[in-house]
């Protein structure tokens, strides 16, 4: 079974991936699946009715708002980074956590590099499919790079200004 990196209780660990990523146009497989937003909108009801877990893949051009009313039924939101420099997924992740209260998995897929670990964890991603072959140890080290942060974000870390108040 394929593996990916999961962020749990502030640590990165390698876990088995029970979800199958279904490409648009590809045949459906049994079990837990991740489908595109378009496919979820047409097939989601039926898939959920079968009692399986369903995840939805958003391209960086698609906005988290499109899922707002479905989130309680969705197990995973996979945010695609077409290239590492496309930062729209960070906004989607924060909104999913902070505005829509999503508690399921937010998974980074696509051009996902270890240098982004800090940003991703802070924005509420908790699952990663690194494209650079990073191990969970490397991912963990990269995500813990900074002892202090300056902003409030989806990870709930105490920002410097609050640390200073003691």
């Amino acid at each position: 079974m394929p593996t990916y990196i999961k962020w749990r209780d502030g640590r990165a660990t390698l876990v088995e991936d029970v979800f199958t990523n279904i490409a648009d146009g590809a045949g459906m497989t049994p079990g837990e699946v991740i489908v595109s937003l378009g496919r979820f909108q047409t097939e989601g009801e039926a898939l959920l009715a079968e009692g399986r877990k369903v995840g939805v893949r958003l391209t960086s051009a698609e906005e988290a708002e499109a899922l707002a009313y479905d989130l309680p039924r969705i197990a995973v939101v996979a945010l695609e980074l077409p290239k590492f420099g496309d930062g729209r997924a960070y906004t989607n992740a924060r909104l999913l956590r902070e505005r829509f209260g999503f508690t399921g998995e937010i998974r980074a897929v696509g051009d996902v590099l270890r240098e982004q670990a800090v940003f991703m964890v802070r924005c509420g991603f908790d699952a990663f499919e690194p494209a650079d072959g990073s191990t969970s140890e490397q991912w963990d080290a990269a995500a813990h790079r900074f002892r202090h942060v300056y902003q409030r974000s989806a990870d709930g870390r105490t920002p410097a200004f609050a640390e200073r108040q003691g």
Binding site: G85, G87, Y90, T91, F119, F146, R147, F161, R164
Partner: protein, 551 residues
């Protein structure tokens, strides 16, 4: 001045360690140059024509003597004994070895400095009025807000992979010395009728290929709500800014495409949803504000007999005083501008020796405070008039007393083809040739304020669009040509200049500027600057004279 506490210091140390590891992976061959490029660019390290260039951040252009001495030392130890101050108030070293870069960053961190976010599509070094804390014009100290923005923008989780780079300026005086309206966001501190402090928020300015002057999207933002509002702007831009074309990716293109009203509406709608969560608590703002509390000024008479006598005895000092001293808010003090535009030298360059002299002067006479301006000069913001003769003498001894602030030879120029891989044409030597036309200082003073700005390519690092006279280098079949624009301004009366006519060859540019000046002197009415005359007469008399000369 703000002093880094243990949190700020540990943050920098962590960043420095990360970069050392990345350079190690590059040097060992684990990373290819292509893979390394986005990482080094996060740390201000560019690969230029001859070597690596390291761009060091000078947040809101503010330095203490220890920091400036460290820069001088780095220049001597790792470069060729000089550095280049930029229009972003950063300092660039142009002759850096990759293997040295991690050590340099550690040396910088030891004096609370870094190269973080001086490149890449993130929020860049924030700029502020170089006269902050010294000018009577300001209604609040913009450094308080610039420092808060520095912290908020450092490794911002959501806004570090924007469509394009993002620049913010803060000013608090009617006279704008930050070029706020050419920034992605310009913040202008104002007081409401009830005394409340707020920002006029301007968004969508920028130079480059498609220059825009930033429109105002909010007349008055209560200062306490700054960070939630910045998040709303950045989020709107991060989501909707173009990512398909690097030349149309700046926020200015989004604001222009949506229109000011629609862009503002989207920002306000997002702001409402965000709420006050990202705003800084008053206690933190008070902590930062306290760091910028005025230092102890002495009670002095408004005139200094020592200074007046020295001026009377020395016309060179008198000339320096006329051009390089600016009024200070405290009686008996002055703001001293240090020109990095010595005639015939490279605009913005300072040698390590010169940096050390400025550091010493700031320590002895200037309350340990040094500023860098976006016009590539330095400022000692708090000098007693009694001490000006000594300061002037020490500056003159190292070629730093050029009395040309805001005059024709106080030119902004990018590094151009002498250093930069993007350039089409030289900029530095064009600046030098122009300056050499105006070595007669009486004539230069008679001409008065005249801002010449030169870029070696369309990316406009030399701000040519907003020069009273703007000069843009272009490549025409392998030859350097220069397009001239007139009537631009980066100040409170911001405007993009308009084209004079066909591009001129390299060896005609300085003559053309001379001709433009002659037309101005002929046409000007009482009290008019070059810019005012141009705006009254239009381009016709200038164009006629320049192209009559050429043919």
């Amino acid at each position: 001045m703000y002093r880094y506490d243990v949190l700020d210091k540990e943050f920098l140390a962590d960043r420095s360690a990360e970069f050392r590891e990345q350079v190690g992976r590059r040097l060992s061959g684990e990373l290819t140059e292509d893979q390394f490029k986005p990482l080094r660019l996060r740390n201000g390290l560019y690969l230029q024509l001859h070597a690596y260039m390291l761009r060091i951040a000078i947040p809101y252009g503010s330095l203490n003597p220890t920091q400036l001495r460290k820069l001088a030392w780095i220049g001597r130890s790792y470069d060729k004994g000089y550095g280049h101050f930029t229009t972003r108030t950063n300092l660039q070293f142009h002759w850096i070895k990759l293997a040295d870069a991690p050590d340099i960053l550690d040396h910088l961190a030891s004096v609370d400095m870094h190269a973080l976010q001086t490149s890449g599509n993130c929020i860049r070094n924030v700029s502020a009025d170089p006269y902050a804390g010294a000018t009577a014009e300001e209604i609040d100290d913009p450094r308080v807000w610039a420092e808060a923005i520095r912290q908020w923008s450092s490794v911002h989780p959501e806004f570090s992979y924007l469509p394009r780079k993002f620049k913010i300026a803060v000013t608090a005086a009617p006279k704008d010395r930050t070029a706020a309206k050419t920034h992605d966001i310009g913040l202008h501190l104002k007081r409401a009728r009830d005394g409340a402090l707020g920002f006029e928020v301007m968004t969508g300015g920028g130079l480059g290929r498609l220059p825009h002057i930033a429109p105002t999207i909010r007349e008055f933002l209560p200062v306490q709500r700054l960070f939630s509002y910045l998040e709303a702007i950045l989020r709107t831009y991060n989501r909707h800014g173009r990512r398909d074309n690097i030349h149309k990716a700046r926020i200015k293109i989004l604001v222009a495409a949506l229109g000011r009203e629609e862009f503002a509406r989207q920002v306000e709608a997002e702001w409402e949803k965000i709420g006050p969560g990202p705003d800084l608590p008053d206690t933190e703002l008070a902590r930062i504000r306290a760091a910028f509390a005025p230092t102890a000024f002495e009670t002095l008479p408004s005139r200094s007999e020592v200074f007046d006598a020295a001026k009377a005895a020395n016309p060179a000092l008198a000339r320096f005083a006329r051009n390089n001293l600016k009024p200070h808010k405290v009686s008996g003090y002055s703001i001293v501008e240090i020109s990095l535009k010595a005639i015939g030298e490279t605009p913005g360059d300072a040698t390590s020796d010169q940096m050390e002299v400025v550091a010493d002067l700031a320590e002895r006479f200037g309350q340990n405070d040094i500023r860098v301006t976006h016009e590539q000069n330095l400022v000692l913001p708090h000098v007693k008039l009694d001490d000006v003769p000594a300061v002037w003498e020490a500056l003159a001894a190292v070629g730093l007393a050029t009395p040309n602030m805001n005059l024709v030879s106080d030119i902004i120029a990018c590094p151009g083809l002498d250093y930069c891989a993007l350039a089409n044409a030289r900029a530095i030597s064009v600046a030098q040739n122009i300056a050499l036309k105006f070595t007669d200082q009486d004539r230069a003073e008679k001409i008065g304020e005249l801002k010449v700005k030169i870029s070696g390519c369309i990316n406009a690092c030399g701000h040519h669009h907003v020069g009273h006279i703007g000069i843009l280098g272009v490549d025409k079949k392998g030859e350097e040509f220069y397009q001239l624009t007139l009537g631009g301004s980066g100040a409170e009366d911001a405007a993009v200049g308009s084209a004079l006519g066909p591009a001129l060859p390299y060896d005609k540019v300085a003559d053309a500027v001379d001709t433009l000046v002659e037309v101005y002197l002929r046409e000007r009415a009482e009290g008019e600057r070059f810019l005012d005359t141009f705006r009254r007469t239009g381009v016709a008399p200038f164009k006629e004279a320049v192209y009559a000369d050429v043919h």
